[in-house]
């Protein structure tokens, strides 16, 4: 008699056998004491394994593994920052120059109708100019009864320097290893 293989018994225990294979395997088990005892041994092994506690690693290996994986090729950070900056500058340049360019072209090509007006663009430009003036004339609101602190520029810049150093060192220390030692 041909006995059942370990793979077949494992698949039977995992309920991965098709209905027909399952029936024929059960038929064999009913007749073969050796395979039945082998099945019982495997069942016992799996039962014992499932009772074992979850083993936890003493070190988190994930960061090391992730570091060792090939990194996707990324653009240098300077270029990534420069690209949107250039795009904004280019858009600003276009916004400022297009109405003037249109005026120049329209005046040099007398008799030709363009069929569209750039008045909304001029309005937008005017709005931007107004905002510029508002910011230019901006003053901090004065609090009633508060005359403000009088300090010299030297003290202000020295304070700024001291705060910058404290900021760099403090942020460096406080944000150090935050990715690893999160709370």
């Amino acid at each position: 008699m041909k006995h059942l293989t370990d793979d077949a018994i494992n698949e039977y225990l995992d309920h991965e056998l098709a209905e027909f294979d399952r029936s024929s395997l059960e038929l064999h088990l009913a007749e073969c004491a050796e395979c039945t005892s082998h099945l019982e041994v495997l069942q016992e092994v799996f039962a014992q394994l499932s009772k074992l506690p979850e083993a936890s690693l003493s070190h988190d290996l994930s960061s090391g593994i992730l570091r060792s994986l090939p990194q996707p090729h990324a653009l240098p950070p300077l270029i990534r920052l420069a690209a949107p900056f250039q795009a904004v500058l280019a858009l600003l340049g276009l916004a400022i120059t297009i109405p003037y360019a249109y005026e120049k072209i329209a005046s040099s090509m007398t008799g030709i109708e363009f069929g569209f007006s750039l008045q909304p663009w001029f309005d937008l430009q005017m709005m931007g100019l107004n905002w510029w003036i508002v910011i230019k004339d901006f003053h901090l609101p004065a609090l009633p009864g508060f005359t403000g602190f009088e300090f010299s520029d030297q003290i202000l810049y020295l304070g700024l320097l001291a705060c910058s150093i404290a900021w760099f060192i403090g942020n460096g220390m406080l944000l150090k290893d935050t990715r690893r030692n999160h709370p």
Binding site: D153, C163, W167
Partner: protein, 164 residues
Amino acid sequence: MNEIGRMFFLLIVLTVSLAGYFLVLNALFAHRLAKSQHIFEQSRARSFLLGLINLLFFAVLVVALFSMAERASGAVKTLLTLPALLIAGAMTASLGFGWAAVANVIAGRFFPQSPSWMKVVMGTVILAFGGALPFAGWFLLLPYTGFAGLGAFILGFFQKELKE
């Protein structure tokens, strides 16, 4: 008496506005606030120090920029005022997030079973009334919660996702 009544009215109006503001923050930035809240509870000293040095630095920077802008003229003045306003706005928004997280933590301690919107409102009321206490509230409680909340908010950007 009239002055006290007016102050009290102002406090209530401000508290209601703050509660509305914090509710909106909770609705739109729930994940960011939950992260700040978690960090505030877990590492308060670190958050406090981080908030303190960042607020100090940016406040001095804004004052320096405004001071330079006062003496400048034309385009230079605008170029100095604009970043100062942007930084001041960003710091105000960050402080708002920090205080919203603190209000959530306070409410979580006192009203753990209440619905979330009620928790936000109650946390804001407690924080606002506590902060309105003369001297101790103005100079201790509000700065402390502000610095720690801001620090927790900043730390949230540098830490990994919370474990489920």
